[in-house]
Symmetry: C2
Subunit: 466 residues, 2 copies
């Protein structure tokens, strides 16, 4: 590890991630403009309210060319249920009509639209006076912003930017179901805790799960944390609400990726951790096909169309469940699964892929029956198989079991995916699907750069920073 | 179950197995003749001796056309060591010179020769006055003969013949390593214990391992038997020497085969249990090849030549160890083994066969490395594989392990057998070997009826009586 090398890499990254002053000023101007449209509507309410800017711009931790605005409307009204919120949102939508706002739902309804290229979310929330009054995740955001603003120094905001870019580079940034990685708030807390980017990386490189990072020093014993928060890879009790693990959404895969990347970065600091580059010369379709054919594995899966407008977290949740069921079903029919991945355009199209050692299995499979001493089972087994012309045997094993060779139900993984699709793809928002093998993806590959990079990574497998 | 059917089958079997009076008389005449040659040599010794007839002829339990003589020389001489026995055997061999006796070794040296088509063993043993004086298995034989003669009625000898023929038919007769089945003595004891053939079969059909059959009623609790004799499928304490389990050599496979055959026989009595018939029309080489190719498995193995004159128990012991090592080695290289078998001509040739689902495996195999948190192992793993051009990856699994696809060491089972033969065929008496697949066995198949039947059974798998 050379500290000098690390510093020079960080300098280069900073020169790319610190936003231009104009960008931030524009964002703040848009915030004021949106607020001015909101105020008349809110003044009609007979409840106290406040319009605040939350998110990374408010904390000055946003990255260049990656500015979006979280405009929160905090209202102190005890009866603020979902139906009431819907009514409010509809009224707000009218006054923001010029921006063509879309109504979206997380746990909560909110509005999203673009102004001069900047994405704006307008999120109504309950104005909690303290954390114990918090009802939903959005109500808690204000407390997070306050905590970060009060604890993060002017120098540290750029350290957050470095760490965000690092997490983005190694693809573990974002707590949504798609990534199951590090949220913006978690990233900020790590910088506050460790002091700066390089110390955070050093800390990360030594993490082993379950890892505790605790501002509050709640317990002495690891067991107490695990008892309270579950066996999560990272346990970081929220300093504003200790009942909650800020890293609850972080998967073992994202955790491990961050740890290994930290180790590797310290060993050999490089820009590629922040800005991984796919070698364009390797991106031809022929290259992808020859990757796979040279290792003689087989790639099969589903091309899926889902209901347009389904929120990313919902569809990613469904796709992940489908993927997992597919693995289990394939395994139950003796297909080993080497690797899997999900692509989703977050509009209406998704691809689930499975890499299996070979497309076709041997036609017969060894089937162990009961031991010969078990009268009832033996009778049932013999009645089923003794006269069956398509089985070999039965014979008696060295351990006294009846053994047969019998034809497999499915000889190819494509047959499994096709015939078991009802089970595997059981999900609310999937509209239709097609079983595909690698060759069927050529058009999508050639027509969609995002899919291209994803398929390249799935076939290449080694992280670009490794 | 129809008792009438069973009886009529048994009648038919008896009509085939009870020896003609002439056959027995001839055997007894040969016994007297051999004795007369032995007496002068033995009279030179200054120790008490006795020449006795042991084995099935002495107990009148031998089968027709299957008579051999066990001539025992019992000598009461405390200093009767192996060297002394060798000297005696050599002197005896001289007076039996006209029969061209061969010197053989079990635990003990003895002579074997043929007289008028009848095989004769001349076995010197220590004359024990009671069982506690017994030194080797052969010394104990006399007590077995006495026990059987004193307990087996005139009617029961034919019941023994039925049971012997049944065990021969289902291929579990004989305690030698080749079969690991029921010895003649064990067969006789079962008839004494259960009374007759049909009751023995009824008993057998209900056996579950560990099964205790105890004349002596030594214990109440199964656990005590297992503690004393080990977890053997069948525990039958020798009524003349309770320290010993008469069924110690019985394998789980032979035990299970007998149990299932007994159940099946009671359900549907048939001559095929006693005289299983291979359908000659199915014995063509083409038929064997098409059996295998229709189920698309692959048969591979070794054609072995071993030192001529090696005793069957020795070579069978070695071959079984080799077979087992072959299974383990194949499995360790990811080759599933569906079935195996050994053929041995008991002269100088043997064949070990393995049936595997397919001759060739996929070229790449998934290899799980350490979790990313284990610094030393991760370093070693990355040094080994990161720059290796013939591996895919590494990547990080959902569980935080480093994963690669790497080329297999052996892609075919033939490669395994060829390259690991030093390990697999490590045995004292194997002289040379050749790795073979099914096609290489055509000549042996066409030239050797015994091998033909064996290979038919190995490919057909279902016992002929099932």
């Amino acid at each position: 590890m050379s500290l000098e090398n690390i510093r020079s890499v960080c300098e280069e990254v900073l020169s790319r991630v610190i936003p231009e002053r104009e960008e931030t000023e524009k964002a703040l101007r848009i915030f004021r403009e949106v607020s001015s449209y909101l105020e008349p509507v809110l003044n009609e309410l007979k409840y106290p309210y406040k319009i605040t800017l939350e998110g990374s711009v408010s904390r000055d931790t946003h990255l260049r060319d990656d500015t979006d605005l979280d405009v929160f409307i905090l209202i102190r009204y005890e009866g603020m249920r979902r139906e009431w919120l819907e009514g409010l949102i509809n009224k707000i939508a009218v006054v923001l009509d010029r921006f063509k706002p879309k109504k979206l739902y997380a746990s909560h309804p909110y509005l999203r639209f673009k102004v001069e290229g900047i994405e704006v979310d307008v999120v109504p929330a309950f104005m909690a006076l303290n954390v114990s009054e918090v009802r939903t995740a959005v109500d808690r955001t204000v407390f997070h912003t306050n905590f970060v603003k009060s604890r993060l120094s002017k120098d540290q905001v750029n350290e957050v930017r470095l760490l965000k870019r690092f997490f983005k580079g190694i693809e573990v940034y974002g707590a949504e179901i798609r990534t199951e990685g590090f949220s913006g708030y978690l990233t900020e807390l790590l910088i506050i805790y460790y002091g700066d980017f390089i110390n955070t990386i050093k800390g990360l490189s030594t993490w082993t799960p379950p890892q505790v990072v605790d501002f509050l020093k709640l317990y002495e014993d690891l067991k107490d944390y695990v008892r309270l928060y579950g066996r999560k890879p990272l346990i970081l009790p929220d300093p504003v609400d200790s009942r909650r693990n800020v890293a609850a959404a972080l998967s073992m895969k994202s955790f491990s990726t961050a740890v290994l990347a930290a180790k590797m970065f310290l060993e050999k600091p490089s820009l590629k951790f922040f800005y991984p580059q796919v070698d364009v010369s390797e991106l031809s379709w022929d290259n992808i096909v020859s990757y796979i054919s040279s290792r003689k594995t087989s790639i099969v899966g589903y091309l899926i169309h889902y209901l347009e407008g389904t929120s990313p977290d919902i569809i990613w949740g469904e796709l992940k469940k489908c993927l997992r069921r597919g693995i289990n079903v394939l395994k139950s029919y003796d297909f080993e699964v080497l690797d899997t991945s999900i692509w989703c355009d977050e509009v209406n199209t998704a691809v689930l892929l499975y890499e299996v050692p070979q497309e076709e299995l041997t036609p017969y499979v060894l089937h162990k029956g009961p031991k010969v001493f078990r009268d009832v089972e033996v009778r049932r087994f013999l009645d089923k198989y003794l006269k069956s012309s398509d089985v070999v045997g039965p014979w008696i094993s060295d351990y006294g079991e009846l053994i047969i060779l019998k034809p497999r139900k499915y000889k190819t993984s494509l047959e499994v995916l096709l015939n078991e699709s009802k089970v595997i793809l059981h999900a609310k928002h999937i509209v239709n699907y097609k079983v595909v093998k690698l060759g069927d993806l050529a058009n999508l590959y050639l027509g969609n750069d995002n899919f291209k990079i994803w398929l390249y990574k799935f076939t290449h497998k080694k992280p670009l920073w490794l």
